[in-house]
């Protein structure tokens, strides 16, 4: 137990609910984020199940009742599903939960650089979330998470309130990013050079740069939208001489890089998992680390690939398509590196590794369909159809969510000092993985057939595949229920976890499980890279 006072760890060091709400400990803040983000995930998930239930049949189908009376309610649920999952689950997901907890541990620091700012960013997220949830009890909002003008100017729903909520949550994201950048530069343990940092840290670092640079653009855009609605300033509203397409440019200038806010940390986790469970040094450390930075940089110049049919000029579309192809390369490199890491390794099929392999599987499909969508002539057909819906779910759910789950199972012993039931964890994987493919693969086909997205109702020809997709959504739900059980059961009945149950080499495994308040009993001194399995 080292020599911390009474063998106290960060969980037992202080007692009472207030000690959590006022904590400055990055680990406790990580747990706060965990609880809140998982609650949001529950709400967003229920919304998704409702949407899928409505789409089980086309509306004139005999004998099957409708879930929603009319398109309005469906459109609202669709908007909440998207907005909650993007702004409240996937964006804060990995950086705020696992990043908060493990970034300082992995670089041998006592905490993040600005602990108070860290707590403030949690409160920002909660304030924004509270406001967002409040809109559900007003006129709600029905614009889709993209808030496209001029619809968002004309609709009578609570757009302004929701936009302010997203603005406040954006603050949270910026503060977290800022904190991470400074932490990485200033608080590394002796000997922890940049090139000895774990790849998860590199990924968080690249993500943080995007968070700090891109989020303000979203913030300004959303404020302009609110101003347009309240004062009619005439930027986006064509009736006042504004340009509605300008909004799309602003919006995607943030929201495309945001895709990498969502996926880079996931890639970081996968690098950790593949190396640990293959017990092998990561193949091409430098390539992976710098490809994260490369992706972060290029991601700012590809936003127009969401707008090939918006009326943007042919030349612009061409340039954006070209640049998008370039971002594909570093992503492909990472995939090859992970697989090369497994070559001649010693591979353990623990649940985190299953999730990592699930990630590679789904992300490969998400990636190749991304290239299809980046191709000008093909996107004209696929844009705004279910093909796109399937693609980004493969990337974001198949990618980010798989990585969160894998990372969470991986670090669970460290976070709580207990082991979970491995069988239950694997069972949850099987349900989520199979359910995911059953839900989303048919949507690629629906998209090729031409089914548009955000449709409350559809032509009868699309019904069979929609039914399969809906059944898949139930399998995913079961998978997550099992995962929830695994976590609760692990917390209550779990066996005591050793300090380093997986035999990993990164720093967080050298301290006790759970770690003491100041993370390490002695300041660690680093003499080698993070994956030295010799």
């Amino acid at each position: 137990m080292g020599h911390s006072a009474h063998g106290d760890n960060y969980i037992t060091a202080e007692k009472g609910l207030m000690s959590w709400f006022t904590t400055l400990d990055h680990k406790r803040i990580g747990i706060l984020y965990f609880v809140s983000v998982m609650s949001f995930f529950l709400i967003g998930g229920i919304a998704a199940l409702l949407l899928r239930a409505e789409l089980f049949s086309y509306n004139a189908a005999p004998n099957v009742g409708e879930i929603f009376k009319n398109g309005d309610v469906y459109n609202q649920v669709l908007t909440y599903h998207g907005a909650i999952m993007v702004f409240m689950v996937i964006i804060p997901g990995i950086p705020a939960i696992l990043g908060n907890f493990f970034l300082p541990l992995q670089i041998g620091a006592k905490d993040v650089a600005f602990p108070k700012l860290n707590l403030l960013s949690w409160y920002c997220l909660m304030a924004g979330a509270a406001l967002a949830v409040t809109t559900m009890f007003t006129t709600r909002i029905d614009t889709g998470w993209t808030f496209y003008t001029p619809y968002s100017i004309r609709t009578q729903t609570a757009v302004s309130m929701m936009v302010v909520a997203a603005f406040i949550m954006g603050m949270s994201s910026i503060l977290t990013g800022l904190n991470f950048i400074v932490t990485v530069h200033k608080l590394r343990a002796p000997g922890m050079t940049m090139h000895r940092m774990p790849l998860f840290v590199w990924a968080l670092y690249s993500t943080a740069i995007i968070q700090v640079l891109a989020t303000p653009v979203l913030a300004i855009t959303l404020l302009l939208l609110a101003a347009e609605r309240t004062f009619g300033v005439g930027i986006f509203d064509p009736k006042l001489g504004g340009d509605p397409v300008l909004f799309q440019h602003f919006f995607w200038f943030y929201s495309h890089p945001a895709v990498y806010i969502m996926i880079l940390p996931a890639m970081g986790i996968v690098s950790e998992l593949i190396s640990t469970f293959s017990r092998k040094v990561i193949f091409g450390y430098t390539a992976i680390a710098y490809s994260s930075l490369g992706i972060a940089a290029v991601s700012f110049f590809v936003w127009g690939h969401h707008m090939y049919v918006s009326g943007q000029s042919e030349l612009a579309g061409t340039v954006f398509s070209f640049l998008t192809m370039l971002v594909g390369v570093p992503t492909a490199i990472k995939m090859f590196n992970w697989i090369a890491t497994m070559y001649k390794g010693s591979i353990q099929f623990a649940s985190p590794m299953l999730y990592a392999m699930g990630f590679i599987f789904l992300f490969a499909i998400g990636g190749v369909t991304g290239i299809i969508l980046a191709t000008l002539a093909l996107d004209v057909h696929f844009h705004d159809t279910y093909f796109v819906v399937a693609h980004f779910h493969y990337v974001m759910v198949g990618g980010t969510l798989m990585a969160i789950m894998g990372g969470f199972y991986y670090w669970f012993p460290k976070m709580f000092g207990k082991m979970y039931n491995e069988f239950a964890a694997q069972l949850s994987f099987v349900f989520i993985f199979i359910g995911f493919n059953v839900t989303f693969f048919p949507q690629f086909i629906l998209g090729s057939m031409g089914m548009p997205r955000r449709y409350f109702d559809y032509i009868p020809a699309y019904q069979p595949l929609n039914r399969i997709s809906t059944v898949g959504s139930w399998l995913i739900a079961i998978g997550f229920l099992i995962a929830l059980y695994t976590i609760i059961d692990g917390l209550i009945n779990g066996k005591k976890a050793p300090n380093n149950p997986w035999g990993a080499k990164t720093l967080e495994w050298q301290t006790t499980s759970p770690p003491p308040v100041l993370n390490f009993d002695h300041e660690p001194v680093v003499t080698a890279g993070p994956y030295e399995y010799k």
């Binding site: 340009d243 090939y308 042919e314 001649k344 093909l378 705004d384 031409g450 955000r454 109702d457 559809y458």
Partner: protein, 329 residues
């Protein structure tokens, strides 16, 4: 040589196979065919890539499964040659695909010179095609084998006109014109969807593309153009079917997005948000169409969801609509 033929044939068969399995809708034009060949090519490349990545992963996972806790593993930190190879190969493929996609896109976006021009306006939640001779139609009717240019506009929010059979799509943006060109290879009826989210009945904003032979098309256009000879109420009915049925039932007494218009004309003490209308007459209906905000039907406040048709309908058209609504007994 032989090898080349085999490879070439194999490629053709594969692409043909992929096309057959790709679930794309029927091919309505040359462009649709070129889009599909590119798609099939990409499907094959994607499949190969997935087999390499996923197959490789599964193969290694099984082959190097942990046998004991003291397994020795190789120490391979990088391999510059390999890394360059697997960066360059995807890059080359991506650029090739980019160029191919661009060529077809350029063809799509190049507007033919002497095409038949049709104005298509999107509005929550219907499409109106307007021809040079003033004919308005809810369906887009075009002749076969002739270049057609659809000039898109919108009177309210952004819509997007999508014809899957022709693999084409373009947003209709308020305040500016955009365009689509197509040349149908065969006659028939094809789906048109709106693919840009536009509110309550976004998914109901569908119509048909009807491709007729040149003779049939000319006949249709002439007949429609002749509507001046039709009784006023008949003309009103046609217009109503284009512009109003997305939100109103005419022959059923139940609400859609707006109230049913059956039994409306002549009604006494008709309830509106601000009180009652003594008798529903021509003026009330006229006002309801042109300035819906002025009097809002009971239960539909505080702001009317109806499109204001002021400036969009001619005096004659409004009169014809009123005449039609009068007949809804």
């Amino acid at each position: 040589m032989l090898l080349w033929i085999i490879k070439n044939q194999l490629f053709k068969v594969l692409v043909g196979q992929a096309e057959a399995q790709s679930f794309m809708p029927a091919q309505g034009s040359e462009i649709a065919k070129s889009v599909d060949s590119l798609y099939s090519f990409l499907l094959i490349v994607s499949l190969i890539a997935c087999v390499i990545v996923i197959g490789g992963m599964i193969f290694f996972a099984i082959k190097y499964k942990r046998k004991s806790d003291n397994d020795k593993t190789a120490y391979i930190s990088h391999d510059t040659r390999l890394e360059i190879l697997w960066s360059v190969i995807p890059l080359v493929i991506f650029l090739f695909v980019f160029a191919w996609g661009w060529v077809i896109y350029h063809e799509m976006r190049t507007m033919p010179k002497d095409a038949l021009e049709i104005q298509v306006m999107g509005q929550q939640w219907n499409w109106t095609a307007e021809y040079k001779n003033g004919v308005k139609s809810g369906e887009i009717v075009i002749p076969v084998n002739r270049d057609v240019k659809l000039i898109l506009s919108s009177s309210d929010v952004i819509h997007s006109l999508y014809i899957p059979t022709f693999r084409i799509k373009q947003d209709a943006v308020p305040g500016r014109y955009t365009a689509l060109s197509l040349k149908a290879e065969g006659t028939g009826e094809f789906h048109i969807f709106c693919t840009e989210f536009c509110g309550t009945s976004h998914s109901g904003m569908m119509t048909k593309l009807r491709v007729l032979s040149q003779a049939d098309f000319d006949k249709w256009l002439a007949e429609e153009g002749d509507s001046a000879s039709l009784p006023l109420a008949e003309r009103g009915k046609k217009l109503f079917n284009i512009k109003c049925t997305a939100c109103h039932y005419a022959n059923e007494d139940k609400p859609k997005i707006g109230p049913s218009l059956q039994h409306l004309f002549g009604q006494e003490n008709h309830p509106v948000e601000s009180g009652v209308i003594k008798v529903v007459d021509e003026n009330y209906i006229r006002e309801s169409i042109l300035y819906p905000q002025a009097q809002i039907a009971k239960g539909y406040g505080p702001r009317s969801a109806m499109t204001a048709f002021q400036g969009q309908l001619s005096e004659k058209e409004v009169t014809s609509l009123i005449e039609f609504i009068k007949t809804l007994k």
